[in-house]
């Protein structure tokens, strides 16, 4: 990689897909309307546990436009995928749709009506009569633990002897934190449009991983992956809910095959709370102890999360706890408990988001217990190497991030006494928290062509989930070839392109760019071979004597020939390169770091809590695109505010039904809730990680933010809220007890 001044790497290049999105040309899964399209609409269970005792389609079949109605007695026999991450055929809910008459959660597909129009399908779906033999539903974590106990999870860690160190420590805290179910709620609803052609399946799916979706569908339909193409050129965000294939996509593809015509299905908003994953409920016990100097000597982080009856999903809340702080005696454990909800899945910063709410709240409580400023306490205790892996960090600037954010925020002005900072009717609270995310990198293939018309074309079967991947791929091609951005076409989101990664884990940038750059270099090598060939513009020269300059090649004498002329001369349409890059090595612990500082305002006279100001300093290695990177952190901060103050999927504890299942009642921040957000990007290249030194930035911003809010709330109100979200009723005094049930 060149390190020219004014490098396109790091520049705030506007999104190259922006015009298509703004003008409506961007093609989302449900925008595909192939000829003869039929529309599916689900019938969803209205109990959370039990069996279908009778399912009658008689009335529904008589409705206008109905083509067929699928259910557990009328559905093709499919196969389960091994659901292996390593094999790349993972799904989250392994049970196949309509597999049997069992119901495991409210809002589970129990039938699929296919009709000639969406409206007819929906009207008929409501005439399908289902009766159930219901069992008592297990509706939440506490009920799950009581009914089912817990099952061992994964990602555990143990070093030293945390229990005895705790017992003999100078100061301790022991606190339990809870986080509710959160639902991803991307604007674009899950949708699939599928058709078959001579045994080949084409599916446009709202997917964050077209290759894995293809492989999983290949297992499920027992056909070679080469016979399936999954398209997701654009998705209306996913936040993790679109990482893996859900039952609706399988049902849509199966229905299309049975009917011999294209079928489209859009998951209604209400069922996006049931059948397409969610962040599970957690209960986390934190026990911390320090010595006389306020140094951590014992840290235990024990987490339980809810999972479904069909699959175990482990929310690794202690993933960050293992390595963020220096502590010789440490235990992290994860357990799950089964409840009647759909299978959970990764939601932006899985594990770390709920985990750092607990850890970074507990760190504040510990600092408070020993009377040390929370910033100083963290600076005193941050780890210098990854003690869980016994490896050095590849690049860790958390101390600088913490100090710079503290300075920018004005932490020095904080008066430590609770409720002591007032402005008018409002009490001001300052809080902060560390943020952290593992830097991951997967194997990747990519292809780049430099074409005779002077343009370049890059393709990779990864996706742009709204984060800017199209744009940074173009930046990498431009960086290597010198071809300007506006002459570069990037194609993503098609499983027939070279295998690319799932867009998740913040690994897309670190994974994709080295493969793209490698492919671009290989294309240039090909170009040089053409140029130095017998009829080439530099015939007889050595490739080594040629350098890339201004959209062409140049020799030591200053002779310059454009790529277009080189290709034209040889009558070549393009110079192509492919590359394969491997995942991360294990020489270092690769992680991203940062710190959030939050100001809240509490107006006790009207019980109004708001986040007024956020300063975040983020150390994610090199920033590839200043604009999209900043946007990722700002968006994550907003999501963190939602997590802190508003978001919770509320289940009726009597029947496990999610109740607030729409955009009106599931509260996320709106524009009026946005504070001033100031993002500092440290921009230290992590060249041990990859040639660009980029570690990825999608998730880290949401970690720790809710804890910073909770810590600020404590500073303002003296109330330590250990259960998210921090709604105003939790901060009010003298709330009357229930007088009626």
């Amino acid at each position: 990689m060149s390190d020219k001044p004014q490098s396109i790497i790091g520049a705030g290049v506007p999104r190259i897909d922006g015009p298509d999105k703004l003008s409506g040309r961007a093609n989302y899964a449900a925008d595909n309307l192939p000829p003869n399209l039929a529309y599916g609409y689900g019938v969803f269970s209205t109990i959370a546990s039990g069996k279908i005792s009778q399912l009658s389609v008689d009335e529904a079949r008589q409705m206008p436009g109905v083509i067929d109605i699928f259910h557990h007695s009328h559905f093709p026999s499919l196969y389960r995928t091994p659901s292996s991450f390593a094999q790349g055929n993972k799904v989250e809910e392994t049970r196949l749709p309509f597999e049997d008459e069992r119901v495991y959660y409210d809002g589970q597909f129990v039938a699929l009506v296919v009709a000639d129009t969406f409206e007819n399908a929906r009207a008929a779906a409501r005439r399908v009569k289902v009766t159930y033999a219901a069992d008592k539903a297990v509706a939440n974590l506490d009920q799950g633990v009581e009914a089912n106990g817990t099952q061992a999870g994964s990602g555990n860690h143990d070093r030293g002897d945390a229990a005895s160190a705790f017992d003999s420590a100078a100061a301790t805290i022991d606190a339990t934190y809870r986080t509710p179910v959160e639902t991803h709620n991307p604007m674009e609803m899950h949708a699939s449009t599928a058709w078959w052609d001579n045994g080949d399946l084409t599916i446009f799916d709202a997917s964050q991983g077209v290759v894995v979706a293809r492989n999983a569908l290949a297992k499920i339909f027992a056909i070679p992956p080469e016979r399936i193409t999954v398209h997701a050129p654009y998705i209306g965000s996913g936040f993790g809910s679109k990482l893996w294939t859900w039952p609706h996509a399988i049902a849509t593809a199966a229905a299309s095959r049975e009917l011999g015509r294209p079928v489209q299905l859009v998951v209604p908003r209400q069922q996006m709370f049931t059948t397409t994953g969610h962040r599970p409920e957690t209960r986390q016990r934190l026990r911390l102890a320090t010595d006389d100097n306020g140094r951590l000597v014992s840290l235990r982080h024990e987490s339980i999360n809810t999972t479904s009856y069909t699959d175990q999903y482990v929310e690794t809340c202690g993933s960050v706890t293992k390595s963020l702080y220096h502590c010789p005696n440490l235990t992290v454990s994860h357990e799950t408990t089964q409840v009647n909800r759909g299978t959970p899945t990764s939601m932006r910063a899985p594990g770390a988001a709920p985990g750092l709410f607990a850890l970074e709240s507990a760190i504040d409580e510990m600092a408070d217990a020993v009377g040390i400023d929370p910033v100083q306490f963290r600076l005193d205790n941050y780890a210098e190497r990854d003690e869980s892996k016994d490896l050095p960090f590849s690049s860790n600037h958390i101390v600088e991030a913490t100090k710079r954010a503290a300075d920018r925020f004005g932490w020095a002005d904080r008066k430590p006494e609770v409720g002591s900072m007032k402005e008018g009717r409002e009490i001001v609270g300052y809080g902060m928290a560390a943020c952290n995310w593992e830097a991951l990198k997967m194997a990747c293939d990519a292809r780049v062509s430099i074409r005779a018309d002077g343009t370049a074309f890059a393709s990779c079967a990864t996706q742009d989930i709204g984060t800017g991947t199209y744009t940074i791929v173009a930046q990498a091609v431009s960086d290597v070839t010198g071809i300007p951005i506006d002459r570069i076409t990037v194609k993503l989101g098609d499983s027939s392109y070279p295998d690319g990664p799932v867009s998740g884990g913040s690994w897309a940038t670190a994974t994709t760019l080295p493969a793209i750059a490698g492919a671009a270099r290989n294309a240039l090598d090909e170009m040089k071979r053409y140029a130095t060939g017998s009829n080439g513009a530099f015939a007889g020269a050595s490739s080594d004597d040629l350098e890339v300059a201004d959209g062409g090649l140049r020799n030591a004498d200053g002779k310059q020939v454009s790529f277009a002329d080189i290709l034209q001369a040889g009558r070549y349409g393009s110079a192509d390169g492919e590359a394969h890059t491997e995942g991360a090595d294990s020489k270092y612990s690769y992680r991203s770091f940062g710190a959030h500082f939050v100001e809240v305002r509490w107006d006790p006279g009207i019980s109004r809590l708001r986040v007024a100001r956020v300063v975040s300093a983020i150390d994610v290695g090199r920033v590839i695109n200043e604009t999209t990177a900043r946007n990722q952190v700002e968006g994550a901060v907003v999501m963190g505010i939602g997590m802190g103050l508003f978001e919770a999927t509320e289940y009726d504890e009597r029947n496990a039904r999610p109740v607030n299942n729409d955009y009106a009642e599931y509260v996320v921040p709106v524009h009026a809730d946005q504070p001033e957000i100031d993002v500092i990007l440290l921009d230290y290249p992590d060249l041990a990680f990859n040639e660009y030194g980029a570690r990825g930035i999608g998730e880290i911003g949401v970690t720790g933010l809710a804890a910073a809010v909770a810590n600020a709330v404590h500073h303002a109100t003296g109330k330590r809220i250990r259960e998210l979200p921090i709604t105003l009723d939790k901060l009010m005094d003298d709330v009357p007890q229930v007088r009626s049930a």
Partner: protein, 328 residues
Amino acid sequence: MRHFDYARAESAQQAVAAHGSDREVSFLAGGTTLLDLVKLDVMQPDKIVDINGVSLDEIERLDDGRLRIGAMVTNTALARDRRVVEDYAVLSQALLAGASTQLRNKATTGGNVMQRVRCPYFRDGVSDCNKREPGSGCAAIGGVNRTVHAVLGTSDDCIATHPSDMCVAMIAIGATIEVQGPEGVREIDFADFHLLPGDTPAREHALEPGELITHVVLDAPLDGSRSGYLKLRDRQSYQFALASSAVIVQMDGNTITDARVAMGGVGTKPWRAPEVEAALKGKSASERLFAEAAKLAFENAIAYSQNGYKIPLGQQAIVRNLSDLTAA
């Protein structure tokens, strides 16, 4: 969507005639409630009479000083009307605190009066709900009831709040609803329009089948009064009130000579609080007076499993609003 008949009316009389009365018929104005509920299969009209062609979109000052608002005047138009902004600030503020710009541009005055409850158990089409299926029960009692459930005017059969902000301002101002029916026109006092759930929560208002709201007539503004609407909620926009207050005060020096107080988010109907008004009248404005008066509004309040906080929150909404309006 289920099939239904569609008719388009060009006058209120035509609309009422098209309505008939033997089937399930709905008038379609802005559609912001109706289309939602039809799509959710909660409302299943056999026929929809579109009244967007009736000419009821004027706002006129009557000779007696009252303001007559056509039922089809949109929430946006009403909120921005100069006479409303100047004479009925509480109404303008209440309207602008509701929904979103897009919804306010579609939603109408008559439709806002007629909007249905936001109780998720009503909207899910499945749970026990006496509004939707009389006699089935009320799943909200003992269920999830933190946000859109009431502490005032509830019954064992229904605890859903009336969701409107506009109506809270209107009941504070005082208003008359003009109705076109098959037999002609009649007037209903705004305070009598919305009904308590009692043991018939499916009956929500005083309209007879086939009757159409044509106008809402606001009482003349209270001389020299100030008014304001304060809405408290989790997020700062696009959420129904957890508690709100509409307050109109008339002052002579520091003495409150007249006051109108109404509340949203806490009652099963737009909730006027005469006991608060009586406690304020003739008294010298003070935080202590406001707190004592506000308390009176909740003497008969009932806290349900998750919404007891609305009892102090509702009082805060009144106190702060009074405090701001009486500040020099």
